[in-house]
């Protein structure tokens, strides 16, 4: 399985990104890590270029919502049906609960949304979702 990952927008929180790369590799994924400060277009380009199965976006600094508003539009320009879109980290500015956050982001076009969810828990869910797709 190929996964493109990175941190969206002007966000430079790199620590989680490093750990995610390590964890994905340990789970046997082929990882294309774009690192921090990656714009949505760059993610989409990388998914197409690498023919990835999963796009796994992180956001920590509260910016994600601002950037995610364009996702549906970008998705509509390419055929990305088979790709699993996941986002996780800290998905709002200020404290918020998942009940509010998850539906919002699903509406933006993500299949799986992990607000303040433990990484391993999230990756387990992603793996299950991938199995179901096959």
């Amino acid at each position: 399985m190929r996964v493109v990952t990175g941190v969206v927008g002007n966000d430079i929180h790199v620590v989680a990104n490093r750990l995610i790369e390590i964890s994905l590799k340990e789970r046997g994924f082929e990882v294309f890590n774009l690192g921090v400060n990656t714009y949505l277009e760059e993610f989409i380009d990388a998914v197409i270029e690498t023919d990835a199965d999963v796009l796994l976006i992180s956001s920590l600094n509260g910016e994600a919502e601002g950037w995610s508003r364009d996702l549906l539009f970008l998705k509509s320009r390419f055929d990305l049906e088979g790709v699993l879109f996941a986002i996780g980290g800290n998905l709002s500015v200020g404290e918020a609960n998942s009940e509010e956050i998850v539906p919002k982001y699903k509406a933006y076009g993500y299949d799986l949304v992990f607000h303040q969810v433990d990484l391993n828990e999230g990756l387990d869910t992603i793996e299950e979702a991938l199995k179901e797709r096959v």
Binding site: N10, V14, V15, R18, L19, N37, G62, G66, V93
Partner: protein, 450 residues
């Protein structure tokens, strides 16, 4: 020439039009209370400064009201991350959304978009020193707007605001842009009390080795004093080990004086700023309170001149003004009870740390380049200066650190950092990986406060 450059920089549709004469006049006549350099001189307590900034003017105004009620010493103005990356267009868009929907669509105050005329009203209203917190590699415009607003402390520096805060921003440009900032600060410092510059010691806040932190602090101090700045704060954040914090404090105080004198700037005022834990916070808010309070005790133990606070909401997001103000109030409460603390030294550790810092500094100075900034620039490129967990492409990332059993941060691999074999052996002698793999050990060490 320089003035011409300033005019070009400040001429942009994203901020209001600059009237330099008026600004000069304003600074010349500004209240002493706006200068932290003045407050350092006249106060004998650790100054308490929270973090904080909201997108809209009104929210920052209210935030300051809360802080003032909580007995704050220094107000912060934290800038949003779009502005930090000079993306004023995005900041503008998000500011508009924030104002319309009364929702915070930015993680700080887009100072450039607000402009200095507006912001100054708030600054003079509270008549309390304000510190600009940003993380911007190219802060020329931002700092012009800040100083014109009456914000007389500027945090950051070409290294400390680049390595942890940016991925691609060109290193050499950062040095030149910060040279500009230093010069503006130095110029304005002649009008009234000095403008204070502060370096950002926490860096990426994750397993940063004190030797590298101190080297970077010293170098940014020198780069600033060189340009004529007269009031400077070196800083570092809680390492996770009280002993290591005390050792770091003793060494940085001693060496800051030594290196400032070395370049003939012994007359500058140097202060020490301590950051409460900057790494990953627990999601249990009571634990966060405990952590923050422990940070406060340690700040007093290391005899910091200023301390920057966190809040119980750190793991969750930007704190509400009430939570943020409570953190200030609680911190002042604790500081007030800590008096006459013991003075602690640890000769062995201080000698080891001093030796590592001196060795790295020497290597930087031995670089053949003709100016200090180029020497530092080269030293980063070739990994003489190297921090763990930097997002920046220029940072080599070969130095690897782990914690020893007392949570002191130690070099495991020095990479190209020129610490001696002896010092490396000392560092490694403290490490015990036990059963863990290196990666597992590091993951554990990142999360010690969880």
């Amino acid at each position: 020439m320089f003035q011409r450059e300033r005019e070009i920089i400040t001429k942009t549709p994203y901020t209001d039009s600059f009237d330099f004469d008026e600004i000069k006049e304003f600074i010349t006549g500004a209240s002493k209370n706006l200068f932290i350099s003045h407050k350092f001189k006249t106060s004998d307590k650790i100054l308490v400064q929270p973090r904080g900034g909201f997108p809209t003017y009104d929210k920052v105004f209210e935030l300051y009201g809360e802080f003032t009620g909580a007995g704050v010493d220094i107000l912060p103005l934290t800038i949003d991350s779009n502005t930090r990356l000079n993306d004023y267009e995005m900041a503008k868009k998000m500011l508009a959304l924030s104002e319309e929907n009364d929702e915070n669509m930015l993680n700080g105050y887009p100072l450039v978009n607000h402009g200095y005329r507006t912001t100054r009203k708030m600054v003079t209203h509270y008549d309390t020193p304000i510190s600009l917190r940003h993380g911007t590699p190219d802060a020329r415009l931002l700092v012009e707007v800040a100083l014109a607003s009456g914000i007389f402390e500027i945090e950051g520096g070409p290294i400390t605001y680049l390595l942890p805060y940016s991925k691609n921003f060109p290193l050499d440009k950062a040095f030149l842009y910060w040279k500009y900032v230093e010069r503006v600060c130095a110029e304005y410092s002649e009008l009234n009390e000095p403008i204070n510059r502060e370096s950002f010691g926490p860096l990426s806040a994750t397993l940063q080795p004190p030797a590298i932190v101190i080297v970077i602090q010293l170098l940014e101090m020198l780069l600033s004093l060189e340009e004529g700045v007269k009031s400077f704060s070196v800083s570092f954040s809680q390492t996770g080990s009280m002993s290591q914090d005390i050792v770091s404090s003793n060494v940085i105080k001693k060496l800051a004086k030594k290196y400032a004198q070395k370049i003939g700037c012994g007359d500058a005022e140097i202060h020490l700023v301590y950051h409460q834990w900057m790494g990953a916070f627990p999601r249990n808010k009571e634990f966060s309170d405990s952590l923050i309070n422990t940070s406060t005790v340690i700040a007093a133990m290391v005899r910091a001149d200023k301390m920057i606070t966190k809040t119980r909401d750190e793991a969750f997001g930007i704190p509400t003004k009430e939570v943020n103000a409570s953190a200030v109030r609680n911190t002042q409460y604790t500081l007030n009870m800590l008096r006459g603390l013991p003075v602690i030294t640890d000769e062995e550790e201080e000698a080891n740390l001093t030796e590592m810092v001196d060795d790295i500094m020497e290597a930087v100075f031995n670089d053949p380049a003709d100016t200090l900034w180029r020497q530092v620039f080269n030293s980063i490129k070739n990994g003489i200066i190297d921090i763990p967990f930097s997002p920046h492409i220029a940072n080599s990332g070969e130095a690897i650190t782990v914690r020893d059993k007392n949570y002191n941060i130690r070099f495991y691999e020095r990479g190209n950092v020129p610490i001696s074999d002896k010092c490396l052996a000392y560092e490694r002698s403290k490490i015990d990986l036990g059963e863990d793999s290196l990666v597992d050990h590091i993951i554990h060490d990142i999360g010690i406060m969880l």
